[in-house]
């Protein structure tokens, strides 16, 4: 897609339709809250539209959008911290049943998910983001570096640090 097309609203709408699911899921993985993720998604696309002239190389659209999305997620985390809202998402039973005390597997999964979410909530926005991009989306380090606007070496270091921070947080949550 050319730069001229990218600046065209119809083309932008098409970009929104093709990317919104990925942006929402990235936001949801980082933020862990559907409303926050929806807000971050919306902020991402509005900001991208408002600043579309800043995109000089249309080939870098996805990296550029990813960077805006990360900033939107960080802003959302800040707002959540300011308002003191803390939410935990628990897995829903696959068959729609309420968790039963006798269903040990489900209870364990719920406990694991709860511990993971609590541990993940301890991490900074950047640590969360780098873990999502690497472990969930399996992005090449070059893409992650582009999204962060940082050198690849920095990203590798951050990945190790974020992983260690998560393990440390999980250890604390499992006590």
């Amino acid at each position: 897609m050319s730069a001229a097309d990218a600046r065209d609203r119809a083309a932008f709408d098409a970009l929104v339709r093709s990317r919104i699911d990925a942006v929402y899921r990235t936001s949801l993985a980082i933020l862990g809250d559907q409303a926050d993720a929806a807000d971050a998604t919306q902020e991402t696309f509005v900001s991208a539209w408002c600043h579309r002239d800043a995109l000089r190389d249309p080939d870098l659209f996805d990296a550029w959008l990813g960077r805006i999305n990360l900033n939107a997620c960080r802003q959302q985390l800040r707002r959540r911290g300011r308002t003191g809202v803390r939410e935990l998402r628990l897995p829903e039973p696959e068959d729609g049943r309420e968790p039963a005390s006798t269903d040990r597997a489900l209870a364990d999964r719920t406990a694991d998910a709860d511990a993971f979410d609590r541990a993940f909530a301890r991490l900074s926005a950047d640590d969360r983001a780098v873990l999502v991009l690497h472990h969930l989306q399996e992005r090449p380090v070059a893409q992650i570096a582009a999204a962060f606007g940082s050198p690849e070496g920095t990203i590798k270091s951050r990945l190790h640090r974020a992983r260690a921070a998560l393990e440390s947080a999980l250890a604390k949550e499992s006590r």
Binding site: G84, S124, G149
Partner: protein, 550 residues
Amino acid sequence: MNGQLPPIDSEIRDQLARRSAGRMPESLLADVLTAVDSAPARRGGDGWPRLIWPVPRLAVAGMGIALVAILAVAIAFPAVRTGPAAPPASYPADRALTTAELAAVMAGPALATNTALVAAVTIDARNDVCPMNRYPTVGVVDGMASQVCVMGATLAAQIQVPKATGTFAFRYLGPGYLGLLGEITPASVKPAFRVADNWPGSGTFLVVGWLGADPYPCPTYLATLGGDPLDPDGQDQCESNWLADDPSAAQPASSAGGVLPPVGGKIVQAGGMRVIDAVPNDVPVLGTYVVRGGRVLAKVANLSLPAPSPEAATPSPTAGPSAAPPETPVAEPSGVLSPAPLGLLGPGNRPLTEAEFAAVWAADPAHLAGRIAIVKGPVPTGFECSPVGAADAAGPSPGCRIAVLDGQIAADGHYWAIQVGSNGKLAIVGEVTVFQAGYVFTLDQALESSGNSGAGLRVVDAWLDWEPSLACDMPGGDPLCQAGAMWSRLTSAPLAQPNADAATQLDVQLGAYQIFGSKDLEARPIHGLYLVQSGGSSATILARLEVAAP
């Protein structure tokens, strides 16, 4: 170790997949496209603004919408200067406070926090005398009877000249502390513009007029928040705010999905200041408003001005252009201002006792203005202190201050964060959280405690550090970029250490490193005890604590 990428961890992947699973909200695509519709168009000359407000949760887009609306209304209604604002011919509509008046206000009883005021003064750009506050230091006001610090909302508020003389809008933050809203661009005749005037294209200015609001139906996603008092960014929740010279002027019929102000009025963003200044939205309110970038930042309070103190007596200028330089400062600070102490603790990192606190107060009461001390209850009330060098410290002395507890009574045996006022009053910031091992938490302990017990005040032993934020190739001025230059963090270990991979980190407020650490970014990290107001995944540092000198 860091040369290789860590392998994909299937357990982490599964948990993250779970977090991101589920259906995307059905309305999200439509919401996004509608919000993009509402985003500012950069092609000018579209005439009346077509405002669509389908999704009120988007602060960034809302700001842009208001800006476009104001510009479009300005185009549609060619401005006609209609002369000076209507009476009353007094502060704040027609003039700013003089230096003497501001000195009297600051020396008098404490104002309500966040009271907005306008004063023509000189600010001495000193960032070495007020290092302890929630905001970066801008400087001190010349000509005050005792030190009055000026704080900025962000690091960008720094003054670039040694002394800045002009008319400034402030919020009263506490005894001895003002927060800078901005330097006022005056109108040609009086400090304040009318709504119908041509407003400045940039900068901060005053507008005398009626602030009103028109509600419109919309889903509600957010509780109403004010934002930072020095940079209110609260949303206009399901209402369109406007300023008008005549609120009874005919109002054009609302367009489909849009709202227009009264004829001659201008649409503004005011959701944040309405919360902070408690301005109701059910009736138009006449006032003098501080405006910047299409957003109303504050409503200037109608102060009952005290008479200037004798030592600060200077002929008060009568009403006139506020662009004129203020009168000669009435009281130059005596000698060189020494660095103010940070938040205070007792020896061995224990809370100050009542006697120790009284002694610290006596040593330099004016210097402690605005500082926070950690005190073990009972908090002293009514004790008399003595000036430095008094031979008989036990007896009352001329000029001694009486400390009066202002607020709830601090219970005996509990630990309290107390803010010292320059007016002889002490204010309780809050009770400090304790745990079985004491009251000084490691960062891990603090996070665990806040996770279990919720938000609260905690003294945390940690490193204050920062990291550069994401690079941003968007134009300057974008809110996302402004907030992204530097991210301050409390960490359980210096991030630069080889074994720092497992360091626990906690995001703290923007610029916290430069507020509580050092102006020198390369001097990081700063190890210390920090008084932290925690909540969720981020926190606010209220003070960096140091042991009070005996």
